[in-house]
Amino acid sequence: MTKTTLIKNAAAPAPGRRTEQIQMIEIDGLTKRYGRHTVVDGLSFSCGAGEVLGFLGPNGAGKSTTMKMLTGFVAPTAGSASVCGHDVQSDSLEARRRIGYLPEGAPSYAEMTPAAFLEFIADVRELGGALRKRRLDEVVERLHLGPVLQQSIDTLSKGFKRRVGLAQAILHDPEVLILDEPTDGLDPNQKHEVRELIRSMAEDKLIVISTHILEEVEAVCSRAIIIANGRILADDTPEHLAARSRYHNAVRVTLGEGADLDAARAAIGQLGSVSGTEADRKLRSITALAADGGQGAAAWRDVSDLAAAEGWAVAGLQLEAGRLDEVFRQITEGAAT
């Protein structure tokens, strides 16, 4: 079992391979207070190219505020943040040149067309010549904006508005991409597309996304930071986080028609490598929780042996990696009390 990594003040190097990389974002003791209310409380971490950092937390945890401070929109009360070595406050312009930012809700100018809006962003980002044309064509194609280019933005659907915001953020091919809830309000197909886009860009960039959708973290992130009440509660890979779940290495058996669910559950519960069982009558499945965190997949072996020996009609047998939503609840609710 991985221990909860509680990072306090120092910009501790992240575990493993990350230490060799150039740190693109460095945050040290970043704090934001509104009056007596502390929104972000001494946040410190750093991350480098190739990472997709998921910022996870309940609503009001301070995700957006941290992003606003990183992009120079909100001035921190204390602490510092730098992007590619440029401090976001003292060297703000240089930092902002390296960032592509999708603010929460993807605001843009409603009366403009996506074409005019992207031209405007290209002007302000000072993209010129062949590069400008190439980048404009590329983002339009990547985000499938072709059919709506000449329609005013306020007549577009939510999905298109979001894509216009994303196009704007990636137009100058930034080194650091900060996306505040990039898939919020999109339908499943659009979500899938945006995730594909993030994955395809991840190689040479640092991408920071905030979300409260856990499947998104599992789908795209290489690292997840869980924050609540402005503090970092966990900082790990999604796999390691999921491994903290009691469902880590649990075995789910789905029984076919006619099999006796209760008898099977009782039999599985007797196994030494199983610490408990849960049954789902609708799906006709039994989940056997692994004892000792499931070392060596003993539960898997025992349950499959048992099923074979008893001659159950097994419709499915699954080894669970762990449930991130359960870990998330456990970590954030533990912090609230």
Partner: protein
């Protein structure tokens, strides 16, 4: 400079993307015409000049310019686009200047469209066209002053109505600061130097000189400084209240 130009173009185009531009220009021209020919007694005076026309400019601007400036920043706040704008690699000065110059250019356009009045007076008589040109420049400068005030105040709020009302009140103060209505509030307690200082801020006084065809360097400097000061204040307000 390219960035200011980009912001300028975007802002100016946005006026014409909505009915704002057309409504403003039509109302501006209709009111100008009505005031000049009816209230101003353009024909009855029997003089070949545009005094009745220019005399109404301060009063028209008092309401029309805040109507134009109220949206400059309040709308950006309301729609959230301010977050997009201010996280682009631009300085507050570039943002303020780009938007302000667009609004000013738009007022200039509306003012230029009053040219039929000029044609009329030239058709009817033989006016001093140099004086008329001077008065136009003075009018544009005064509109710039009102706009700078309105732009600065618009940055305080996300509510356009509030921005409008406050702008009208402050502009009214500046318009009449040379008159007892405003001066009496200060003369009872403030030192004479301050009262004189306030009196010297009057738009009406400064505009009166220019509209008579006299370009006094001091009047031009007055409007220049006033615009500069309010735009500077605008950048301060913007940074201070950026995210609220």
């Amino acid at each position: 400079m390219n960035i200011v130009a980009a912001l300028f173009r975007r802002e100016l185009k946005s006026y014409f993307a909505t009915p704002v531009a057309y409504v403003f220009i039509v109302i501006f021209l209709v009111l100008m015409g009505t005031f000049t020919f009816y209230l101003g007694g353009f024909y009855e005076r029997g003089q070949a000049d545009l005094r009745p026309f220019f005399n109404f400019h301060p009063w028209l601007y008092l309401f029309l310019v805040p109507a134009l400036s109220m949206r400059l920043w309040a709308e950006e706040r309301k729609s959230g686009s301010i977050e997009l704008l201010m996280t682009l690699p631009i300085t507050p000065w570039q943002a303020v200047l780009g938007k302000y110059l667009a609004a000013w250019a738009f007022t200039g356009l509306a003012l230029a469209l009053t040219f039929p009045v000029w044609i009329t007076v030239n058709y009817l008589g033989d006016p001093d066209n140099g004086a008329i040109l001077t008065a136009y420049i003075g009018s544009l400068l005064m509109a710039g002053g009102f706009l700078a005030i309105g732009s600065c105040l618009s940055a305080f709020t996300r509510n356009q109505v509030i921005a409008f009302v406050i702008s009208v009140v402050v502009c009214f103060g500046f318009l009449l600061s040379g008159f007892p209505l405003v001066l009496d509030m200060f003369s009872a307690w403030a030192p004479q130097a301050l009262v004189d200082g306030i009196a010297s801020l009057s738009f009406l006084t400064h505009f009166a000189n220019i509209s008579r065809g006299v370009i006094d360097f001091r009047d031009v400097v007055f409007f220049g400084l006033l615009i500069g000061a309010f735009l500077y204040a605008n950048t301060i307000v913007l940074q201070w209240k950026q995210a609220d």
